[in-house]
């Protein structure tokens, strides 16, 4: 039977962005109802799914999360699965194969937890270097929200200011926990990088370092942060769901929002959703938050087009779905004579950030370099078996391939380019809703960076590590940080949301998260999404208190 529930705040999406806002609104005394497209699944089910995968699929981070028919997400196990949801086109379609999962808790289930803040310069690309856009505010405005996000998610990091990022800035609060120790691979990378002027920093990461935090245990180095931390030592939004319910929040899972309804005063009045029986329901409220991520939020706005909103909801600027960004990534698989031994500690724990800043950004993109710290025993084991070895030779080759190989990556800062655009595909999903079609071209700014700057530097780093063989990916890949599709700006003519992630067109609609990011920077973006969510939550609470 169709239902119509109501609440002060309606939030679509139970990822980190939705959950941070839900908790803040509940703490301020407002009622919250969350709609979640996907199922709610226990941690042990996901761990079991992972362990039951054949080893060749264990590096497909989405494989332990089979999607429900009504909430599809990209799957990568086979080519045909890969093409079955996101309709990707353009010269760099592969660089937009975003690996989010539509499960309650969202993509932090299988994120690595790395939390690099953007720098003051990252927010002023236009005025400093004449490229991209400037943000609606400066770093000083964002800084306190970063600090709150770090404490909300439990981000550990170094106490020594010389090892903190961004450099030469003041932090309003220290990290809630100290750094995670390096294993042999990351220490070696740090030492070697220093010899060629690259500073490998201990990464701030949403992982409990040495102590329990927020009711979650300390990290024990299970090295399984993606696809799932078996003990929840790494923050994921699924851990927030019981707390939200304990505070009185209501969560409806398997509820796929498909239409946002506006009234004659340009206010949002209701959200309509389908349940798994394809029955439509609606929810009404005072404030509406779309926190479905940088692809699903613009898709939902475009799906809501009608006579009142001919280009989709919140889209008088025609910017909804444009400026899609992610950090285009290149990887180098390297082989060395000496053992490096990745796989000790978390799957990622450090990055080289000083390569992301500088005057060269006038001409080409800055970039972050890092090394995957995943245990390579699965890869080494399968590769050695492939060679037809047995006995002692097999053991020696597994050990060698596991210890003496590594994957280095370089992630380039993207520019907001209006031609990188999400539209509605004519291909439909199980519910009959249009799938997202995304055109993606990394652009000359990134291509120039790769040829003139990052690939030569990547090779130099690999050689300094003692590489005897270097294989660089032939094309750009995705970094899984979805940004730009509901871009923030002060001018309603060329942006979708204001500095609080409020839609310019509808004052009771908030679109926080990656979509709002004006530029992408080189580092992992979720901490910025979380900071924007907290800023939006302040505005929502303020608006409810005064309205």
């Amino acid at each position: 039977m169709p239902s119509n529930l109501s609440s002060d705040v309606i939030i679509v999406g139970t990822g980190v962005v939705g959950c941070l806002i839900a908790e803040q609104a509940l703490d301020a005394g407002f009622s919250v109802l969350m709609l979640e497209a996907g199922p709610r699944v226990s941690r042990d089910t996901i761990v079991e799914n992972y362990r039951n995968l054949p080893p060749r699929l264990r590096n497909h981070w989405n494989a332990p999360y089979p999607p429900k028919p009504w909430a599809p997400h990209l799957e990568t196990r086979t080519e045909s699965e890969g093409a079955s949801y996101l309709d990707l086109i353009g010269p760099n379609a592969k660089a937009y194969e975003q690996g989010y999962v539509r499960y309650a808790g969202g993509a932090t289930w299988h994120w690595a937890g790395i939390c690099w803040r953007m720098t003051p310069d990252d927010l002023r690309l236009k005025s400093l270097y004449g490229v991209g856009r400037d943000w609606a505010f400066s770093y000083d405005v964002l800084e306190p929200y970063y600090a709150r996000a770090e404490h909300a998610m439990g981000v550990c990091g170094p106490r020594d200011p010389a090892l903190q990022w961004p450099p030469n800035t003041t932090r309003s609060r220290p990290y809630p926990m100290g750094p995670i120790p390096f294993g042999p691979g990351e220490q070696r990378l740090t030492d070697v990088a220093a010899t060629i002027g690259m500073q490998n920093l201990p990464a701030p990461q949403a992982r409990n370092s040495g102590v329990s935090f927020d009711g979650r245990p300390p990290c024990c180095g299970n090295n399984n942060c993606f696809p799932v931390c078996p003990i929840a030592a790494k923050y994921d939004a699924a851990t927030a769901l019981p707390r939200i319910e304990a505070k009185g929040g209501k969560i409806i899972t398997n509820a796929v929002a498909y239409r946002v309804e506006t009234n004659s005063q340009k206010k949002i009045e209701a959200i309509h959703y389908f349940d798994p029986n394809k029955t439509s329901h609606s929810v009404s409220g005072k404030i509406f938050v779309l926190a479905c991520n940088g692809i699903e939020t613009p898709k939902l706005l475009l799906l809501s087009a009608n006579e009142k909103n001919p280009h989709g909801v919140a889209n008088s600027s025609d910017q909804v779905g444009r400026n899609m960004m992610d950090q285009p990534k290149l990887v180098a698989d390297v082989e060395m004579t000496e053992p490096l031994w990745t796989g000790v500690g978390p799957v990622q724990s450090s990055s080289i950030m000083n390569t992301s800043q500088g005057d060269f950004r006038r001409d080409y993109a800055g970039a972050m370099f890092r090394m995957e710290n995943m245990a390579r025993s699965t890869l080494g084991g399968l590769a050695a078996l492939e060679k037809g070895l047995y006995g002692k030779a097999l053991d020696q080759e597994i050990r060698r391939l596991s210890a003496c190989t590594a994957r280095l990556t370089v992630e380039h800062e993207p520019l907001p380019l209006s031609f990188n655009r999400l539209t509605l595909s004519d291909k439909k999903d199980w519910l009959g809703l249009s799938r997202p079609r995304i055109y993606y071209d990394v652009g000359d700014y990134v291509r120039r960076s790769a040829t003139q700057y990052t690939v030569p530097l990547l090779k130099k780093l690999a050689i300094a590590l003692g590489a005897t063989d270097i294989k660089i990916s032939p094309e750009f890949l995705h970094s899984d940080h979805i940004m730009g599709g509901t871009i923030m700006g002060n001018d309603p003519v060329d942006s979708v949301v204001d500095a609080d992630c409020r839609a310019h067109d509808h004052d009771n609609l908030f679109l926080p998260g990656g979509g709002a990011m004006t530029t992408g920077g080189s580092g992992n973006s979720t901490i910025t999404m979380a900071a924007l969510a907290i800023k939006a939550a302040d505005a929502i609470v303020g608006q409810l208190n005064h309205g």
């Binding site: 761990v47 992972y50 362990r51 039951n52 995968l53 054949p54 080893p55 060749r56 264990r58 120790p181 390096f182 294993g183 042999p184 990351e186 220490q187 070696r188 409990n208 370092s209 040495g210 102590v211 245990p217 300390p218 990290c219 024990c220 180095g221 299970n222 090295n223 399984n224 799932v228 078996p230 003990i231 053992p339 031994w341 796989g343 000790v344 500690g345 995943m374 245990a375 390579r376 025993s377 699965t378 080494g380 084991g381 399968l382 050695a384 078996l385 037809g388 047995y390 006995g391 002692k392 030779a393 097999l394 053991d395 020696q396 597994i398 050990r399 060698r400 596991s402 210890a403 003496c404």
Partner: protein, 178 residues
């Protein structure tokens, strides 16, 4: 039936391992026999034959319960699997190899060699590849993880106490025994 061990001239360690395999197989079958009061004699148990062959192909301690699962998966996906095992077993008895390094070159029949390699692969990777699907028969028991387990975590299993690891690099030559 004659024990497959009787004609073997294999080294002492292998012999002991082989004997203990058969002893385990016998006691397993006996206890089953007692419980069921009937059943095949111990050495017709196909898993025992499979373990016997496996112990020559894979020079490590092998867990019979894992072997049971690997054997079950192969029996599902390979036609006539027990006969293939019997052929390998007969060859082992005939050639009395010192170890797998000596045994593999004696396999001139490509089909026999493939069967041997598939068995080795299953013990190491924990998977038996079928035509339409893969059968995962083990995770932490996969031997490929044991080769590096002095340093690397078996993914999803805890390595140490909180923050209890360090950056010491271990020599490649320190092969764990397992």
């Amino acid at each position: 039936m004659r024990s497959p061990c009787t004609k073997l001239k294999i080294n002492r360690r292998r012999l002991l391992l082989g004997m203990s395999a058969l002893a385990t197989a016998a006691s397993f079958a006996q206890s089953r026999g007692l419980a069921e009061s009937s059943g095949p004699p111990s050495l017709t148990d196909p898993v025992s034959h499979f373990m016997f062959v496996s112990r020559v192909l894979v020079p490590h301690e092998l867990d019979r319960s894992v072997g049971h699962r690997i054997h079950g998966a192969f029996s599902d996906v390979e036609e006539d699997f027990d006969n293939k095992i019997k052929e390998l077993q007969d060859l082992i008895i005939k050639t009395s190899p010192v170890d797998v390094e000596h045994f593999m070159p004696t396999l001139t029949d490509i089909k026999q060699k493939n069967t041997a390699m598939k068995i080795i692969s299953a013990w190491y990777s924990g998977v038996v590849n079928g035509k339409s699907k893969d059968h995962t028969i083990g995770f932490e028991s996969s031997l490929m993880y044991k080769v590096t387990n002095d340093v690397m975590t078996i993914p999803s299993y805890a390595k140490s106490a909180p923050n209890g690891w360090n950056s010491t690099a271990v020599s490649l030559l320190n092969m764990p025994s397992f």
